[in-house]
Amino acid sequence: MSVFLFVVVPYVCLTVFVAGHLWRCRYDKFGWTTRSSQLYENRLLRIGSPLFHFGMLGVVGGHVIGLLVPQSWTDAVGITEHMYHVAAVGGGLAAGVMTVVGMVILIYRRRTTGPVFSATTVMDKVMYAFLAIVIVLGMWNTIAGSIMTIGGEYNYREGVSVWYRSFLAFQPDAALMANAPLGFQLHALVAFGLFALWPFTRLVHVFSAPVGYLTRPYIVYRSRDDQLGSHSPRRGWDRVG
């Protein structure tokens, strides 16, 4: 069972995640957008959206550090377990609270503002449900698991993180995850569910984060030949000249 849950399911989700993005990028560039609703409502968005997104950037950064940096490395540079714990919980809590508050504002806005709600698709609602559950479970793990230590102390850097790196290295060790607390197990599973949904939702906009804007020239020139109006050249037609 644990092999199915912590090896098969994650790999299936990862496959869907990667293949789905490739498919979406190939066939639905036109649909690849943030689908902003700022035009409809700005007052709540102005507070909620930056809170949520900046909080989320912190959360993602925290996960990268927590999951990808082995404990031996931080030990080697002399960061003690306690120091790490304080920093991780402190940072995680701050980012988490921002994310949750932002998310509550945004969901409230989406539900109560008529135009925004009517522009919400079924896929959006499913995605919101997964996203909210992942975030709430993550906060539960931080608050209940790491601060109040309900159900005993658990160092995820010796369990979940190692499993995650083994998963990325294609040498998965399901036992590590099977021994983790239920909160961590559920968090990881729902997160993988979200990854599987990802390419089919508006979340794809994460991968169009416009970092290139910092370095590109302000004005973009393009030749007419680069872009064939609204459709690409048919197979078998070569351009002349």
Partner: protein, 549 residues
């Protein structure tokens, strides 16, 4: 020198009667889709007035366009790249739908479905945004024809700038119409604001377009454009803008707004410009110098060196010819009667305007004086500061000198041509008073008053050797393997619709303008092969025998 070609437009505001035909035909052609209800690529504003979206010209509020920083270098008014990325999650300067208007329809069905009742049923307005009943409070042209009334005009950002000198009294009212499309700027701040790099300027003709596949809906372009001519399609989540009807331009046809303009006030043509000089010109310190600086960027298409450089830059010979015949070049650089709209935004706009003389003429006419007399008009131009200063706020960043000069040229043309039309001896001193020769004045009159279609629209078609890349050209396989085209495989319904294209456009035009009905031999020579049973040879199918002697 780096020569580039730019498709440009000039509008003669004296001729605009505010009929909105351009707006309506443009909307029918481009934005009659869900999500684009409030999008007007072309709109006509009554000035003085608020514009669309309301008070868009108030750049202290909307932060569109460019400004100079302390070191005199160009920066986006709304902040640089880093600032843009930091505010990407909630654009602080995006007009809400309320600044445009909430689009609506009516529940027409109740008019026919309603049960018998005492009072006749009413079609109530329904919002196209929320679907609910709504109260109509504003629309794209709510203040149409209300120029100079006190209800709204005090909020006109341009009038505010001169308001301390002016008590806007009823006797001083004036009004004119300002049709607006995208300016297709040489230094577009929308493109510079786009985090995704989806907005680009075409190298060949300078048309600014949004790549719908690359746009990610960050909305920074909407804020970045000081003319607010980029709109956010709230259904697709992508930015859309005026395309200068590029599929038509590519085959040598004018834009829809120009083609359908009943006043024939629009001119389209090429301008050659030096791309290397754009940045320096846009960075001119004195705002009053921006108009002249932009004129300096344009190149003289008759100059042999310019022609040589243009050919080196890959601009085809017929395009250079078109640039020489360009009515835009004549109006901007030869006659110097066209002015840019809001040069102070430093975007180097390429849709220019001939300011209206009518506010002046009307005042003179109302006094009972001769409104075509040079002396009266010149005196009125000098005396009527309010309309002149207002026009200067629109077209020359507040500098009245160029506006004065243009209006005097138009006034001079009016009185000079009056003499000719009345059969009197033309007075050479009138053109001389505005620094023109009689011949130049007559040429200007010809271009402004009676120019034919081919003179108003000098549009070289894109080159046929690039045919496959032209949007409207039907040279591709009719039955698309990607599911394009229509469902029928055979017969008339098969394939994609045949649009106007480089080849058949000329053919169709020849057919429309030829003297005979069709073909070289007139009606009698036509053969209907559908009725031919294959026997014998119907007359007309082969050339007559023995004629070759």
């Amino acid at each position: 020198m780096r020569v580039m070609a730019q498709m440009a437009m000039v509008m003669n505001l004296d001729k605009c009667i505010g009929c909105h035909t351009c707006s309506v035909t443009c909307k029918q052609a481009w934005t009659n889709r869900s999500g684009t209800e409030y999008i007007w690529f072309n709109n006509v504003e009554t000035r003085p007035g608020l514009g669309y979206p309301r008070t868009y010209e108030d750049q202290e509020k909307w932060q569109g366009g460019w400004e100079l920083n302390k070191r005199g270098r160009m920066k986006l008014k709304a902040g640089g790249r880093f600032r843009k990325l930091m505010t990407i999650f909630s654009n602080p300067k995006l007009p809400s739908i309320g600044e445009y208007y909430e689009p609506w329809t009516y529940d027409y069905a109740t008019l026919t479905d309603a049960p018998a009742q005492e009072h006749s049923p009413v079609a109530r307005p329904k919002s196209l945004i929320s679907g609910k009943n709504m109260k109509i409070e504003w629309s794209a042209n709510w203040d149409d024809d209300l120029g100079g009334s006190t209800a709204n005009t005090h909020r006109d950002p341009m009038l505010k700038k001169i308001a301390d000198k002016v008590k806007f009294e009823f006797e001083q009212t004036f009004m004119f119409y300002l049709p607006r499309i995208c300016e297709h700027c040489l230094n577009p701040s929308c493109a510079a604001s786009c985090p995704s790099g989806a907005i680009y300027k075409r190298e060949e003709d300078g048309i600014v377009l949004v790549d719908q596949d690359a746009c990610r809906g960050w909305r920074m372009c909407v804020s970045g454009c000081p003319y607010k001519k980029i709109y956010f399609n709230h259904r697709t989540g992508k930015a859309e803008k005026c395309t200068f009807c590029f599929p038509r331009i590519e085959v040598g046809l004018p834009t829809v707004c120009s083609e359908t303009c009943v006043g024939r006030l629009r001119y389209i043509g090429l301008m050659l410009y030096d791309a290397d000089k754009v940045l320096a010109a846009a960075s001119t310190t004195d705002e009053h110098g921006l108009y002249e600086a932009q004129r300096d960027v344009f190149l003289d298409p008759f100059d042999p060196e310019v022609i040589r450089e243009a050919e080196k830059a890959g601009i085809a010979r017929d395009w250079i010819d078109a640039a020489q015949r360009s009515p835009i070049y004549a109006l901007i650089n030869t006659f110097k009667v066209a002015l840019p709209l809001h040069p102070e935004y430093r975007t180097m706009p390429m849709v220019w305007y001939i300011p209206p003389l009518s506010p002046v003429v009307e005042v003179v006419a109302e006094t009972g004086e001769d409104a075509e007399d040079k002396g009266n008009l010149f005196a009125a131009i000098d005396a009527l500061r309010i309309p002149i200063e207002y026009l200067a706020e629109l077209f020359t960043a507040g500098d009245v000198v160029p506006v004065d000069a243009v209006l005097k040229k138009l006034a001079a043309m009016r009185s000079y041509m009056r003499d000719i039309n009345m059969g009197r001896e033309p007075d050479a001193s009138i053109p001389a008073a505005v620094g023109m020769t009689e011949e130049e004045m007559y040429d200007m009159y010809r271009l402004l008053a009676i120019a034919k279609y081919e003179e108003r629209y000098v549009i070289p078609p894109a080159h046929a050797e690039q045919a496959h890349s032209l949007e409207e050209l039907a040279t591709e396989c009719a039955v698309s393997e990607y599911g394009g085209g229509q469902n029928d495989l055979f017969g008339e319904g098969s394939g994609a619709p045949t649009p106007i294209a480089v080849e058949n456009f000329q053919m169709l035009q020849d057919r429309q303008t030829s003297d005979s009905l069709a073909g070289p031999d007139g009606k009698k020579g036509r053969v209907n092969l559908l009725n031919w049973d294959g026997k014998g040879s119907p007359s007309g199918i082969f050339p007559p025998k023995g004629d070759d002697s």
